[in-house]
């Protein structure tokens, strides 16, 4: 069962929810595009229905809402620590099924990898509720169906937008407020996209041998990739971070520890003590990312990391397509996987 709302009624409902939640959705950020006189669609706080962008994919994923790009974890003075206060309210996130699946991947990385739950991730993550944006058409670069991430039941509410009509359903008690219940009921079962324009075939993990790692396919990416890191920063499942200890300029013993997103395509990602570093060639970085997204993660957790949102394709300034890379890799591996 669901509810049928007009945009005015939905705005009233959002106002009602805003009393408890900060509501985030894809919004147009005017003038914030990389190029002059352009806009970008990114996640931002909303107060009304019209602000939500339904007809475009967000350039950046929603992960920055609950996994900040740069987050102070604690402050230190000599041997004393003070945890950075978490001064945020519960969050409602308007997300598509692929991104919900992506957030499940982040959950696995932060909460189920290595036996210790990541405290700083968890304290924000547990404030989240998802309103799933019904997604039956997708976009040009999506390949969620191939990744099995076109569907999910991990949502707290679901919305369908049909012209002027909004259908909304939830069984979450926090979302089921009087401002919703006063609307007419209408049977509403969410649908999911069944076919994307882009399809990928993931190489059988068992067939991925060391030969593939040395295959000349990666040389092409050494020539093409500029290691800007946009594929990492736009990705819903990239979870890597680095630490920064920032000391006060006046006092070496006073400062803060931050954690900051890192990306395997960005120079310096593999820098180690003693000046060691791995994967200096950009093709090697591409290989590392590809293997993590469609091979290594699967071997460890039983699902593929990539959810086929296609953002890495959308944002690559060099027009490198990840879905194309997966398919090329599959062809190579089906043919035996060596350079010959």
């Amino acid at each position: 069962m669901g509810y049928r709302l007009t945009t005015t009624r939905f705005d009233k409902y959002l106002t009602n929810l805003s009393e408890t939640f900060d509501i985030y959705a894809p919004v147009v950020q005017k003038g914030k595009g990389m190029y002059s006189d352009t806009e970008v669609v990114g996640y931002g706080k909303i107060t009304c229905f019209d602000e939500i962008v339904f007809d475009k994919k967000s350039y950046y994923s929603p992960k920055e809402v609950f996994y900040p790009i740069r987050e102070t974890l604690f402050y230190f003075l000599n041997d004393e620590l003070k945890e950075a206060p978490l001064d945020i309210r519960p969050i409602i996130l308007f997300v598509r099924p692929c991104d919900i699946n992506g957030i499940m991947r982040l959950d696995t990385m932060f909460l189920e990898n290595g036996g210790i739950k990541d405290y700083y991730y968890l304290r924000r993550r547990q404030l989240l509720k998802f309103i799933m944006i019904e997604c039956t058409e997708g976009f040009d670069t999506c390949f969620c169906v191939s990744m099995g991430t076109n569907k999910t039941d991990q949502y707290d509410g679901v919305i369908r937008v049909q012209d002027e009509k909004i259908l909304f359903d939830t069984d979450d008690e926090k979302l089921l407020t009087s401002a919703l219940e006063e609307n007419p009921k209408e049977v509403f079962t969410p649908r999911f996209i069944e076919e994307n324009k882009v399809k990928v075939t993931i190489p059988e993990p068992d067939l991925v041998t060391k030969d593939v790692f040395e295959h000349e396919i990666w040389t092409e990416y050494t020539q093409r990739c500029i290691a800007c890191g946009r594929c990492n920063t736009s990705c819903i499942t990239c979870s890597c971070f680095t630490m920064q200890d920032v000391k006060s300029s006046d006092n070496d013993h006073l400062g803060e520890r931050r954690r900051v997103w890192a990306g395997c395509h960005v120079d310096g990602f593999t820098d180690m003590a003693g000046g060691h570093s791995f994967r200096s060639k950009n093709g090697e970085k591409m290989r590392f990312k590809t293997m993590h997204k469609i091979n290594d993660y699967y071997k460890r957790f039983g699902t593929h990391m990539c959810v086929g949102c296609g953002r890495c394709d959308d944002v690559c300034p060099e027009y490198i397509s990840f879905s194309k890379c997966i398919n090329k890799l599959n062809d190579i591996i089906s043919e035996g996987g060596s350079n010959d």
Binding site: M34, Y35, R70, G229, Q244, V266
Partner: protein
């Protein structure tokens, strides 16, 4: 045949090396033209000229090999091209009202180019409306970024579109892409301190490269469109030289007012004993201080704007070519 050379010159026609033949210059401010005008230009070239057109260095069209007596007839036909300039005047049948102030050229700008900080054609078109028609010989060009593809530095007024980059540290991943690029390709205005980027505003030239390099959108563009204007560049047979920065971080309104005031300045100081005098030589004669004072009169500078204290133009003098003696 009797032709008043001065009259036809103001009308955008010229004396050519072929006796009794002239050529028409068609203005295309910003160097961008709707193709619907192509058949008209083609028909003039075919009916009155020799079936060819020349793309001028200032991005107009020059239609050669026209008989002087066809001028009135052509002037009626080119009315739509003059109307397309969008000037605040009723376009008559007499053709172009002036030719001294040259076509305002522009690079492709942000209609296409990722580097461009503005729609250069639009800026050129706006300026055209502000300064044309005028008989004084002014060369103006607009370029989308300090790469200066239009060669704004070779103009009397070269307008370089810039942006004042805004940094949101909370979005920065300290990848240093902006810092490294600025150091390598620009002026090294960015440095990393405590994993956070610091921008030296005096060194920053507003090219926007940092914004293009940033993988997280930590760098974005200023809401305000800003411009650097370089002045008094020139070629010619005496003292070719690059234009030098007169004002930076100025608004369109401010640079437009300065250019308009320069017409007043020229009118006051031009040497009328000469057939024509380029502005740069007038500024050489009056000195920069006088020029500056005259053209800034009544101009309300935006708060970001900075005007050059003094300018030393470089270039060389043809009559001092010691190297060839």
């Amino acid at each position: 045949m009797s032709v008043n050379r001065k009259v036809i010159a103001k009308n955008a026609y010229r004396i050519t090396k072929t006796r009794n033949k002239t050529a028409l210059r068609i203005r295309v401010p910003g160097g961008h033209l709707e193709t619907k005008y192509f058949p008209l230009i083609q028909s003039i070239a075919e009916e009155y000229g020799n079936g060819t057109v020349h793309f001028t260095t200032r991005q107009g069209f020059e239609v050669p090999d026209i008989d002087f007596e066809c001028i009135p007839e052509i002037n009626v036909k080119i009315k739509p091209l003059i109307e397309a300039l969008g000037l605040e005047m009723v376009v008559q049948d007499g053709g172009y009202p002036a030719a001294g102030t040259r076509n305002i050229s522009a690079c492709i700008g942000n209609r296409v180019c990722p580097y461009a900080n503005d729609d250069t054609t639009k800026v050129a078109q706006n300026l055209e409306k502000a300064v044309y028609p005028h008989d004084f010989h002014f060369k103006i060009a607009v370029t989308g970024c300090p790469n200066d593809c239009i060669k704004a530095h070779m103009q009397d007024f070269g307008i370089i579109c810039v942006t004042e980059p805004k940094y949101d540290a909370s979005r920065c991943i300290s990848c240093e892409a902006c810092v490294k690029n600025c150091k390598k390709k620009v002026t090294g205005a960015l440095t990393m301190k405590n994993y956070t980027v610091e921008r030296d505003h005096d060194k920053c030239i507003g090219c926007g490269e940092c914004i293009l390099k940033c993988p997280t959108g930590a760098w974005t563009r200023s809401e305000k469109k800003l411009y650097r204007m370089v002045i008094m560049g020139r070629t010619g047979k005496k003292n070719p030289r690059l234009a030098m920065p007169f004002i930076k971080w100025a608004t369109e309104e401010v640079i437009t007012q300065i250019i308009k005031n320069t017409y007043r300045y020229v009118d006051k100081y031009i040497d009328r004993s000469l057939p024509k005098e380029h502005i740069g030589y007038i500024v050489d004669r009056t000195g920069y201080k006088v020029y500056k004072e005259e053209v800034l009169e009544g101009v309300v500078l935006n708060q970001e704007a900075k005007v050059a204290e003094n300018i030393q133009w470089s270039g060389y003098w043809y009559n001092q070519e010691e190297n060839f003696k």
